[in-house]
């Protein structure tokens, strides 16, 4: 277990995840698709069940004990999220369905309400579709310009290009990933915000991957908006987070109207509640918020530094093993990267490869991982396979993947060619 922190007991951690004991086609499950959605520990499952069995009612409404209990649990989740990313104030946390909805909320509200026609939004080439499409929609509906920030061949933000694109001062919002879901690149967040702020732009980070793999401190990186999602952080689906600095959230007009987001309603007009309620119309995902709180507690109990160290060991090991495989191309060579690897074999299409890997129990994602422009940028339009790690991933699983890739390449090598060799 060289390179692995001896105090990080991955065997014990795996026991918390019931699904990891599963057998796929007679083979032990090797789950390497946590970047798409992570598995859930018992602690999250039990907390959500207990919420429904013992403490469930609608929130912010009833003046009876059960509703008060549910409201307290919901607001405790908000406070836990605030601490998790070191937000200055729990009111800066808006619950959404997922990261996608959080970005759309900013595009629809800040985008249409605060940005003006002629302003520019800058996104990078390595964005997930969730951080591309909402800005294209804003451009088409509202007349802002959409600029694209180049990525280097290593898969890092091109900082010279960044300076150039900011120079005329028209960029008012930079929306970039904090960690690429394809290349694993961790972007230099503090530098990105410093350069943007000097040029008069705000910065939104898509933290869907980063929040899982790195300790996030929104104040230290001086972000303006930060979004992430619960289901990649070992929590449930249906709950995501928009964090924004309080004055920004206050200036943003609500996108959805309805219950919970109003101060008063007459048949003629309504007034809005204070943030964050203003941006959370309707009954929220109460059980899911409680589940996200449990997931954060779970991650904190292991400790973000320990988790980061575990992941660094996995990432280094994976890079060492995968880069020696003949015919295998790994996308991106960023200096600072996390446990996400997209790769292509020279003689197998990503879908054929994933079918083979599935046969021996390995779950990887195949395709373009909701990042079609990035695959075009790297000349792999046909797609890649992606292995992404979680806190339960082991070095042995990476070895197994590497061995399987070698065998897969042999499988797709024509018989005659194999004989000649």
């Amino acid at each position: 277990m060289d390179g692995m922190n001896p105090r990080y007991d991955v065997t014990r951690i795996r026991e918390d995840f019931p699904i990891l004991g599963q057998v796929v086609r007679g083979k032990k499950l090797v789950f390497l698709d946590s970047g798409a959605s992570a598995q859930k520990p018992r602690q999250v499952i039990a907390t959500m069940t207990r919420c429904m069995e013992e403490a469930y009612a609608n929130v912010h409404r009833g003046a009876y004990r059960l509703s008060e209990t549910a409201t307290e649990a919901h607001e405790a989740a908000r406070a836990a999220v605030a601490r998790f990313i070191n937000a200055a104030d729990a009111r800066e946390i808006v619950f959404t369905r997922n990261s996608t909805e959080a970005i759309n909320l900013v595009a629809l509200s800040h985008g249409r309400g605060v940005l003006k026609a002629g302003d520019a939004v800058l996104i990078s080439e390595m964005e997930h579709h969730a951080n591309i499409v909402p800005w294209q929609m804003l451009r088409d509906a509202h007349g802002v310009e959409l600029r694209i920030l180049c990525v280097t061949d290593a898969g890092e933000i091109d900082l010279e290009d960044y300076a150039t694109k900011l120079r005329d001062g028209r960029v008012k919002l930079v929306a970039v990933t904090h960690m690429s879901n394809v290349l694993g690149t961790v972007t230099p967040a503090a530098q990105i915000t410093r350069m943007a702020h000097e040029a008069g732009a705000l910065v939104l980070f898509d933290g869907s991957q980063a929040a899982v793999h790195r300790a996030v401190d929104v104040q230290a990186i001086d972000a303006d908006f930060y979004v992430f999602t619960g289901h990649k952080l070992y929590g449930p689906t249906g709950i995501g987070v928009l964090w924004a600095r309080l004055p920004l959230l206050e200036a943003m007009p609500p996108v959805y109207g309805g219950g919970d987001m109003i101060a008063s309603v007459t048949l003629e007009r309504s007034t809005w509640a204070e943030v964050p309620a203003k941006h959370e119309a309707g009954t929220p995902a109460i059980i899911e918020a409680v589940g996200l709180h449990a997931a954060i507690d779970y991650v904190n109990a292991i400790g973000m530094p320990a988790l980061e160290a575990h992941e660094r060991a996995l990432t280094e090991h994976a890079m060492a093993r995968l880069s020696t495989i003949e015919g295998l191309t790994i996308l991106g060579r960023a200096q600072d990267r996390g446990g996400v690897f997209a790769f292509a074999l020279d003689n197998a299409h990503a879908h054929d490869l994933s079918t083979l890997l599935d046969r021996v129990g390995i779950a990887v994602r195949a395709g373009r991982h909701c990042a079609e422009p990035l695959h075009t940028r790297f000349g792999v339009e046909a797609g890649t396979c992606r292995a992404s790690f979680g806190l339960y991933t082991t070095l042995e699983e990476i070895d197994f993947l590497a061995d399987a890739l070698v065998e897969a390449r042999k499988f797709f090598t024509p018989k005659e060619a194999a004989r000649v060799r």
Binding site: A348, H349, A350, H351, D352, T355, L356, R359, V360, A366, G367, R368, E372, H375, E381, A382, G383, D403, A404, E407, A408, F411, F412, P414, K415
Partner: protein, 154 residues
């Protein structure tokens, strides 16, 4: 490690996947259609030339895809050449049955030889997420013959 996958990836499929037949543009095509699988990025452009008596005189394709979708398109071009559109459509329907169930109980005896040639693809029925790879070319052929221009295997 993967020996039990030889049923799915038979040598004929790997061969057609690597060296697809009729992989070219048909400049004098009378019908064309595009097939897309937006989920996985597979894309095919199909060219059909209908000649005397509306028979399929020539058929070819271009595009990109996995071994199964490429082999399926390649084998399709070989089996539908010389057929009437109605015969090709009948073959398409039978092939879809084969791909989805692994058998074709109601198959037309007149098309038995063609179905035999396509039988290496029957293994996909055990892989629900791969059935669409095998049927994309046939959906596209249907679109070309029906004149709808676009097909999706979604």
């Amino acid at each position: 490690m993967f020996d039990d996958l030889r049923d799915l990836y038979q040598e004929v499929i790997l061969d057609h996947g690597r060296k697809p037949r009729n992989f070219r543009r048909l400049e004098d095509a009378t019908r064309t259609a595009r097939g897309d699988n937006p989920l996985c990025g597979d894309r095919i452009e199909l060219f059909v030339k209908l000649g005397e008596g509306e028979r399929i005189d020539d058929v070819a394709f271009q595009g990109r895809g996995c071994a199964i979708s490429t082999a399926s398109a390649s084998l399709m071009t070989e089996t539908v050449r010389g057929k009437l559109p109605a015969e090709a459509e009948a073959l398409a329907a039978q092939f879809r049955d084969l791909a989805m169930t692994g058998t074709c109980p109601h198959c037309d005896a007149a098309l038995a030889d063609e179905m035999e040639r396509l039988s290496p693809l029957s293994g996909v029925h055990e892989f629900p997420s791969r059935v669409k790879c095998a049927t994309l070319a046939w959906h596209t052929l249907h679109a070309a013959l029906a004149g709808t221009k676009e097909a999706s295997s979604e």
